[in-house]
Symmetry: C3
Subunit: 134 residues, 3 copies
C-alpha cells in the first residue's frame, strides 16, 4: 500500500502535512514517508506555536548561510544559485524519510507532534513524498 | 507487535536503553523505535567510553546554546524557558526514530553501538518510546 | 530477506553504493539500510555534480573540526586520535540508517538521489551495511 503526496512550496520554511497523511493511513504497521528530493526535508516538530517553525528555519539559515555569504566562500557548487548548496547541506542534516508506527488506523504521534515538509529553496517547487505502510 | 517503553530523565544527556529493547525483540524483521516528543531524541552511539556521551552532549550544547545566550537572541519561542526552543532544534537535528534490522531474535547492532534516549530538557521528564517490529 | 554489503573506505568523504543496492532489491516493500558503526554514516544526496559531495564533506569538517583544533578543546574522548570524537559527533548528526520505498523491484529514488556511505575517519576502514527488505 503506497501513495504519492504532492506539496507545492513557495520559499523556505515548514509546510504541515499531518492531516493529509492521517487521512490516508489505516490498519497497523509502520508508515514510511520518503521525499524524492535533495534540497528539502521531512521533519516531525511541535505543532502548537507557529513561532517554533519560524525559529527552526531561522536557526538552519544561520547554521548554513547562503553560498554568497563570506563564511561559505569555500563552497564550489554555486552555479545553481546561493541557496542551492546550502539546501543540499540542510538535506543531509535533516531527515529524507520519517517512520511512524500506526496502531488501529492512527499514527502514534505525541500530542504536540506534527509532520512537516521543510523546504530549503527560495523558488516555488512541487515536492513529491512517497508514503508506504507495511 | 508493538510496545511502549517509558524512560524517566533527570536533565540533559544520554540514557541507554539497549538492554530493555534487546530483551523485547524476537524473530526477524525491522525494529522501529519512535519517540513521542519534540524535545528529546533517539541516537545510536558508542557504548564503550562514557566520555563519548558527555562530549556529544557538550557539542550539541555549544551548537545550540540556550535561548538566553546572546547568540540566540533571534529566537522568538522563549516563554517555555531558555532550554525549550534549543530542545526543539536539537530534536530536528537528531533522530525522532531509529530502524534496526533484527535477525534470529537479535538486533544487528555493531559491537560498539548502543541505543540511547537523548534528553534535551533540564527538568525531569517521563519519555515514551514506541517500539514496533515488522 | 537481508544482506550485508561491505564497503572499503580510504579517508573521509562520500562513497556511492546506489548501484550495488539497486541490483539487490526486488518486489515491493521498504528497504532499510543500516550501518554497523559509530564513526561513519549513510546519506542520500545529489548524484549529478561531484562537487556537491566535496562541499558536503567540507561543511561537516568545519562544523565539527578535529579535536586538536582550539575550538574543540572541551572534548575529553581524544585518545583514539583527533578525528575520532568528531566522527562520533558526525555519526549523531547524520543518519545511521536509511529507509527507501521499493515498488515493482525499483527504489523510489528521485532522479538526482544517490545513496552514499559517508566515511568520517582518516584511516582505511572496512564498513558493513545491513540491507533488509520488508
Amino acid at each position: 500500500m503506497h501513495r504519492i503526496f504532492e506539496i507545492s512550496t513557495s520559499g523556505p520554511g515548514l509546510y504541515e502535512i499531518t492531516r493529509d497523511v492521517a487521512g490516508w493511513v489505516e490498519g497497523e504497521g509502520v508508515l514510511t514517508l520518503f521525499v524524492r528530493h535533495t534540497s528539502c526535508s521531512l521533519v516531525i516538530q511541535e505543532n502548537a506555536d507557529p513561532e517554533v517553525q519560524t525559529d527552526l528555519a531561522a536557526f538552519f539559515e544561520r547554521l548554513v548561510p547562503p553560498s554568497d555569504d563570506a563564511s561559505m566562500s569555500y563552497l564550489t557548487h554555486t552555479y545553481e544559485g546561493p541557496d542551492d548548496m546550502p539546501a543540499h547541506i540542510k538535506a543531509a542534516l535533516l531527515p529524507t524519510s520519517l517512520q511512524i508506527p500506526v496502531v488501529e488506523g492512527r499514527m502514534m504521534l505525541g500530542t504536540w507532534q506534527g509532520i512537516y515538509l521543510f523546504e530549503h529553496r527560495r523558488r516555488p517547487h512541487r515536492r513529491l513524498v512517497v508514503a508506504m505502510l507495511r
